[in-house]
Amino acid sequence: MISGLRLRLLPAPAPGAARTPLVLVTTALVGLATFVVTLGLGEVSVAPADVVRALIGQADGDGAFVVTELRMPRALVACCVGAGLAAAGVVLQGLTRNALAAPELVGVSAGAHAAAVVVIVLLPDLPTSVLPACAFAGALATSGLVYGLSWRRGTSGSRLLLVGIAVTTVGYAIVLGVISTVEDLIHASQLVTFMAGSVYGRGWPELGAVFPWLALLLPLVALSIRELDALALGDPVARGLGVRVEAARLRLLVLAAGLAGSAVAVAGPVGFVGLMSPHIARRLVGGAHGPLLATSVLLGATIMLLADALARLAFAPIDVPVGVVTAVVGAPYLLWLLVRGRTNPE
């Protein structure tokens, strides 16, 4: 039996397809409102109405410049990162039939991060746009490793987490080793911030690096959604339904690695977004992966926006890495899951 952690979070009513459109519209509106409001917050404060005016090009001046040129690209990067991590979480949780499978917990983010840092330090002249591909390679290598070490005998919650911890530890060791060779202290401190997960100083180049991946991979995941639904019933059932199990799993695994890798390449291994977004979405729209993916992506983007706004504002003028904020919220959530969830005896 490989059901892993099965969750009872809220006393959930029967979530179903009927509620999905309402949830999607609401989530999108909340996300949009968050986007507009947080763009106005900061040292230069801009009212939401003026933010909207600036966004549609009906305003100029300092406020408009701050909104459209300084805050917006960073906010869009945050959205892409949150959406990518959330989508990767949906795919991994479905594939492993394990609620703890999230890119940051099973080591996929760590692999992507290590690859990115190695490239940044050893090949400093490489353009930002290439980073996602390198991180993708790292994510792919670690997901292959995790697959080999834990998947074959079923992915019980503890086994997956243990392998994830091992892989993450190796990843961090590589990252720290590489950073220790950096002599320029400012560069080294930037790399440490990157290690915590941060979108500080991210702008149009990073957006240009991460967005195409999201735009390409999300539709591909959507095209494989029925296979993901079937695999979530277990391999024997999926094959009985007519799914080519190995091919479908490999395809989805590569897509998850690409989504997580490109997000980590620009923001570092931001924690818990890929874990929490699918869980909240499952409470809202149920376990079918189509609605789940759409809702998670919107939630992931919104959560990242909120977390990054908090990271910017809470200790202003110090810009805390957004990964610190998601960890402060996410780590207790994970602990709560472990305590409250019915863990699989295996």
Binding site: M1, R6, A18, A99, L241, G242, G286, A288
Partner: protein, 267 residues
């Protein structure tokens, strides 16, 4: 639709579980595989449903080796429900049953009127139409098993393979699931192959019983011919008496020895 096996060798990497087994499943009938634990009955069923690739020999679906057919093609002719499947959290009955339509869909031709009709008839046949919007993980064991069977029915295949469909169910639900299976056979003429643990249930519901011991077929045929004291001793290593089932007149088997039935008798 015909299903059979020729010179099958089955195993999981180590010593073969089944070696050189040949079998022809009777079309339009209920065939029940029985045997002790580790006799290879589930392994055989998995191979018949192409969940397990034979190490040698072949499973023949309509005369063609099943391994040469695409899994989608197989799924349009044969549905198999493995033992004790677990549904993901918060999946509704309707969403589960709808997945039975996978093999009938294409990348760009998704949910059709035909799919909807198949879904409705599967829900109706299993009598769970009123549960359609309930999450599977909140159903009782019996209802849940009906939902899984409905998923297999939505595949609209003539062949239905079930691996111990009554495991973990209480007696009332066991009977209701077996009655459902019998109905699917009688009403729609489906060919059914299932693994059952309970010999008396096998005797009652099977047209053909295939008894396995250590990976080989010991006896195969109608219950009245197969359920004999000698065969049961060979297959299960237990002494039994066979009496007439008071309901059907078929064989009913009861263990022959117990410390509680001393010759002196008890009150």
């Amino acid at each position: 639709m015909t299903l059979g096996a020729r010179d099958l060798v089955l195993g999981y990497g180590g010593a073969p579980v089944i070696e050189g087994l040949s079998l022809q499943i009777a079309s339009g009938r209920i065939t029940v595989l029985v045997g002790a634990n580790a006799s290879g009955k589930s392994t055989l069923l998995r191979a018949l449903g192409r969940l397990l690739r034979p190490e040698a020999g072949e499973v023949l679906l309509d005369g063609k080796a099943i391994a040469t057919l695409s899994t989608r093609e197989v799924a349009r002719r044969l549905a198999i429900l493995p033992q004790g499947p677990v549904a993901p959290e918060a999946l509704t009955v309707r969403q589960l049953v709808a997945q039975g339509r996978y093999a009938h869909q294409r990348l760009l031709r998704r949910w059709s009127a035909e799919d909807e009709a198949a879904l409705a008839s599967a829900l109706e046949a299993t009598d769970i139409g009123d549960l359609a919007s309930r999450p599977v993980d909140q159903l009782s064991g019996g209802q849940r098993q009906r939902a899984w069977i409905a998923m297999a029915l939505a595949q609209q295949t003539d062949l239905l393979l079930l691996d111990e469909p009554t495991t973990y169910l209480d007696l009332a639900h066991q009977v209701s699931i077996l009655e459902l299976v019998a109905e699917l056979n009688v009403r729609d003429g489906r060919t059914i192959v299932m693994v059952l643990h309970d010999l008396n249930q096998a005797a009652r519901y099977a047209d053909q019983i295939v008894a396995l011991r250590k990976g080989a077929i010991v006896a195969a045929g109608p219950a009245a011919e197969i359920i004999t004291e000698a065969t049961v001793r060979t297959v299960f290593d237990v002494d039994v008496r066979i009496i007439d089932d008071p309901v059907t007149g078929g064989p009913l088997c009861v263990p022959a020895t117990t410390v509680r039935a001393s010759p002196a008798g008890r009150c």
